[in-house]
């Protein structure tokens, strides 16, 4: 039984509508947990989502959690202290990873020197295996250098871990600039440093933004290094604060407060994500291609 052309058209149209319906639903799935988080943060009930209130955000005024409870208020650090630590970690990671990989990526991309293949290969291999395998040794090194329990130690370890990806992505961007453009700059009268600053670097700016964004968010969300290397609660970042609240009795008693803290912690991530999503995609593709 063959279909008339109008029946075929209707069939195709319904199939397309179905396709789009499925696509929209699928696209919304990962956003649901996020929406639930926000709902819980504004919930009147400490455990279930009910109603709307701003009461859970009381901590924003002074940063002190549990101001009325003598025991709890001493257990947990000031929210703003943790937030500051988080910011320092994120900024430190961003600045150094971006700076170092902009330079290293350029040299590896444009210069031939002995050991270049070996160096590149090493970065590739390191990039494939995550940082978790190095935790034990890093702990030892930090303890021996006196950097254990310091934010500086964590920053240094974080930079090291994010650097291979940064070098690979930026190298890819440098590779994409035609040789002629750089030769033209040299012939026009720039030395190699001049060619780098005036021509090459401006042309890889998208790559620089991508790595800056990536390393900032990477530092902002870092947990394992803090959990492992930091012992004093005043050195905690937000991630550690939230996790320790969650795993304590508070996790069962007052989830809404934790949700509110999470929203506070999350806002910069969401803002940066909305504005920089396409840069993050560049990093993802660049990272896997390498």
């Amino acid at each position: 039984m063959s279909l008339s052309s109008s029946e075929v058209v209707i069939m195709v149209k319904t199939r397309t509508i179905l396709l789009y319906l499925v696509a929209v639903i699928v696209a919304l799935v990962p956003l649901i947990p996020l929406g639930l988080l926000f709902a819980l943060a504004f919930s009147e009930h400490p455990i279930h989502i009910k109603g709307f209130t701003l009461a859970n955000f009381e901590f924003l005024k002074t940063g002190v959690l549990f101001p009325n409870d003598p025991r709890y208020s001493k257990l947990y650090p000031n929210v703003y202290t943790s937030a500051m630590n988080t910011l320092l970690l994120a900024l430190g990671n961003m600045l150094f990873v971006t700076l170092i990989s902009s330079m290293a990526g350029y040299v590896i991309s444009r210069y031939s020197f002995r050991g270049r293949s070996a160096l590149l290969g090493t970065f590739l291999v390191i990039h494939g295996v995550p940082a978790s395998v190095l935790l034990i040794a890093l702990y030892y090194i930090l303890k021996v250098t006196g950097l254990l329990n310091t934010l500086l130690g964590v920053v240094l370890a974080k930079i090291a871990v994010d650097l291979p990806l940064g070098v690979w992505v930026l190298k890819g961007f440098y590779d994409g600039i035609p040789w002629d453009t750089e030769i033209a700059a040299l012939v026009d009268g720039a030395g190699r440093f001049g060619a780098f600053f005036r021509v090459m670097l401006p042309l890889v700016l998208p790559g620089v933004f991508s790595i800056a964004l990536f390393s900032f968010l990477s530092g902002w969300g870092e947990f394992v290094f803090i959990y492992t290397f930091i012992q004093t609660s005043t050195n905690w970042t937000m991630s550690m604060l939230i996790q320790s609240l969650h795993t304590s009795e508070m996790g069962a008693l007052n989830l809404a407060l934790i949700a509110a803290l999470s929203v506070f912690y999350l806002i910069p991530v969401l803002v940066l994500f909305v504005f920089g999503e396409k840069y993050l995609v560049k990093v993802t593709i660049g990272g896997v291609k390498g």
Partner: protein, 355 residues
């Protein structure tokens, strides 16, 4: 400025020999073209003159001064690339001003020079645009402007016309030649297009696989190619280079080729008596169709001003022949063939010119 290359050789990492023992003298104000197929070493030579590559052996002289170790920025050269290599993040004005800014000239002087060059090349209305907003031809003028504005002693051009539409290319060619004559700057130009070389150059240097084949004026290269490579490379349609044997019979010399026998003229006979296998070279316009047998017209292309035919020889070889526009031949017709021996050449089996 004069440029001299002395025994210049370039070997790359991995043993690739791109240029071998190149000796070349470029006169002041001359427009010399480095011509050859891809991979012949012409761009490598250009980049060595620019200072981007360092010769593995040999010396490069600018006006009697050895410049092997001089950085590109100190060589006072202007360079134009096939891809134009304009800085995408700068406006046209900034692109042209870039070399002057690097020289740290005062702002008013930079402004004056940029505007001067822009009007010379008729791009003064494009100064505020960015390269991606320009057409190919416009980008090329900007690239030229950038090279000219620093008043260099030497122009280096790497196939600057290859990316242009065929129609514009012919016009720009003429303009480029005029510009060079007006400015009087020594120019070294690289291309693989022999027609371009013939029309632009004061002299041409033909390169193949890193080795210089011949240097001379277009006329010399066309009418007296020194080896079979140059003979086959210069001129379009390509010259016929035919395998031939020298045969002596009763004190007279004959060419045995194409499955037929051709008597050799007196001046050839004197020089060729001791040769056995040679190459006979005849350009399409030096092949004459006569009444006769053995040869067949294989195909005819009518081109308006003249006609171009393939003629099949008794041994199956196809000869390239140009015919006057008012020819009276048909495809399949049997003809005879002879040559204008005043213009033909004979080469050794190793390729060098005998006569």
């Amino acid at each position: 400025m004069r440029v001299r290359l002395e025994n210049v050789t370039k070997v790359f990492r991995g043993g690739v020999e791109a240029v071998r023992d190149l000796n070349l003298e470029v006169k002041n104000g001359e427009f010399i073209v480095l011509l050859g197929p891809s991979g012949c070493g012409k761009t490598t030579t250009l980049l060595m003159i620019a200072g981007v590559y360092k010769p593995t052996r040999g010396y490069i002289y600018f006006d009697d001064q050895v410049v092997n170790d001089l950085e590109p920025k100190d060589r006072n050269i202007g360079m134009v690339f096939q891809s134009y290599a304009l800085y995408p993040h700068m406006s046209v004005y900034e692109n042209i001003a870039f070399p002057l800014k690097l020289k740290k000239l005062p702002k008013e002087e930079i402004d004056r020079k940029v505007k001067e060059v822009a009007s010379m090349l008729r791009i003064d209305n494009l100064l505020n645009r960015h390269p991606r907003q320009l057409s190919g031809g416009q980008q090329q003028r900007v690239a030229l402007a950038r090279a000219i504005v620093k008043e260099p002693s030497l122009f280096l051009m790497d196939e600057p016309l290859s990316n242009l539409d065929a129609k514009i290319r012919v016009e720009v060619r003429a303009e480029l030649k005029r510009l060079q004559k007006d400015l009087g700057i020594t120019t070294i130009y690289v291309t693989h297009d022999q027609a371009e070389a013939l029309s632009l150059a004061d002299r041409i240097a033909v390169l193949n696989e890193g080795v210089l084949q011949q240097v001379g004026t277009p006329d010399e290269l066309y009418n007296k190619p020194l080896n079979t490579f140059v003979a086959g490379f210069i001129g379009a349609p390509a010259a016929n280079i035919i395998d031939a044997s020298i045969v002596e019979e009763k004190e007279a010399l004959y060419f045995e080729m194409l499955g037929a026998r051709f008597p050799a003229p007196k001046d050839y006979a004197e020089v060729l008596r001791n040769e056995a296998k040679v190459y006979f070279m005849a350009r399409p316009e030096d092949v004459r169709i006569t009444e006769g047998k053995g040869f067949t017209i294989y195909s005819i292309e009518w081109l308006g001003r003249e006609a171009f035919a393939h003629v099949k020889a008794p041994d199956g070889t196809l000869l390239r022949v140009t015919l006057p526009a008012e020819f009276k031949l048909t495809v399949g017709q049997e003809v005879g063939v002879t040559f204008n021996y005043a213009k033909t050449h004979v080469y050794k089996s190793t390729g060098e010119l005998i006569i």
